[in-house]
């Protein structure tokens, strides 16, 4: 009886939600009949040349939408916090099967290569495709490989906490320095000449912020993976 009632309610709310979504979508579609083509991208590309970063996507993500990226990192932190709270802290998962020796050897061989590639993607985020998010997750996937293949491997909790705290605080700190010097939060206070575009040391604070984002994302994703793989669930 109870189950039937919940099922009906959820079906009804599902239909209502999809109807609202379809109406909204049609509304957007009908209002934007291509009488006036929007050209935000061209404006952003024009502005991009003033910052001396050759990858325009990085300029948009880190500089024009820098505050937004701070919010995204906060969302990721809350997600990892939720996963950590849901799983039992003291009860370790019992993994009975020992990994194949080929998997063990291959993961030991691949781990440094994947980590170096992740650091490359992270550091060269303002020159080539990639950046902090992608590089951080690549490093986390290397850690994940070791977590799956080695039964007793575990990350040190305190090291991850120190890395993540350092990264989060330094992001806000860089923004506050910009507020002090140029009266704008996350302002580009370091030298960013257009003449140095394409060099590793260019773009002022943009590569620094992306490296910081990469450290934070990598440590959070590694902790999520470790919690899910090694801990028993509480509920």
């Amino acid at each position: 009886m109870n189950l039937k009632r919940t099922l009906q309610t959820s079906t009804l709310s599902g239909f209502t939600l999809s109807a609202i979504l379809i109406v909204t979508f049609l509304n957007i579609l009908l209002q934007n009949i291509p009488s006036s083509v929007q050209r935000v991208g061209d404006e952003l590309l024009k502005l991009n040349t003033t910052d001396g970063v050759s990858n325009a996507v990085t300029t948009v993500v880190v500089f024009f939408r820098g505050f937004d990226t701070l919010g995204e990192i906060a969302v990721l932190f809350i997600a990892s916090l939720g996963i950590g709270l849901m799983l039992n802290e003291n009860k370790k998962c019992e993994i009975k099967a020992e990994s194949n020796f080929m998997l063990k050897t291959a993961s030991k061989l691949l781990f440094p290569i994947i980590v170096v590639y992740g650091i490359y993607v992270m550091v060269y985020g303002h020159l080539s495709p990639g950046g902090g998010f992608q590089g951080g997750v690549i490093i986390a996937s290397a850690v994940m490989l070791l977590l799956i293949s080695h039964k007793n491997f575990e990350l040190s909790h305190s090291v991850v906490v120190i890395l993540e705290t350092f990264a989060g605080i330094s992001y806000v700190f860089i923004g506050l320095i910009g507020l002090l010097i140029l009266d704008v939060f996350l302002a580009n206070f370091l030298p960013h000449d257009v003449s140095s575009m394409g060099l590793l040391l260019s773009g002022g604070i943009i590569p620094i912020i992306y490296i910081v984002v990469g450290i934070k994302v990598g440590s959070e994703m590694s902790m999520i993976a470790q919690d899910l793989i090694k801990r028993e669930n509480d509920v």
């Binding site: 996507v57 495709p129 990639g130 992608q134 986390a140 994940m144 993976a225 793989i229």
Partner: protein
């Protein structure tokens, strides 16, 4: 050639997505979901968005599939 790649990956995405929702076991559906991510990586790259392609390859088919698989393991271990 490029048009052929676009068409093949598009049809592949649709086929893999449909076969993912008709699977009986959840683990098979998750593996096919990784295939959807792979097809969209090719599409994003061909349409000139390498940043998005990298993000999709790493997050969409890498991390999120692992999180799904581990959540499945936790669901199964529940009494």
């Amino acid at each position: 050639m490029i048009g052929l790649i676009i068409l093949a990956s598009f049809v592949g995405i649709v086929v893999v997505a449909f076969s993912a929702i008709v699977q009986n076991t959840l683990a098979d559906a998750i593996i096919l979901f990784m295939g959807v991510g792979l097809g969209s990586v090719i599409l994003f790259f061909v349409f000139g968005a390498p940043d998005v392609a990298l993000t999709e390859a790493v997050i969409g088919s890498g991390i999120s599939s692992l999180i799904f698989l581990m959540a499945l393991k936790h669901l199964k271990s529940q009494p």
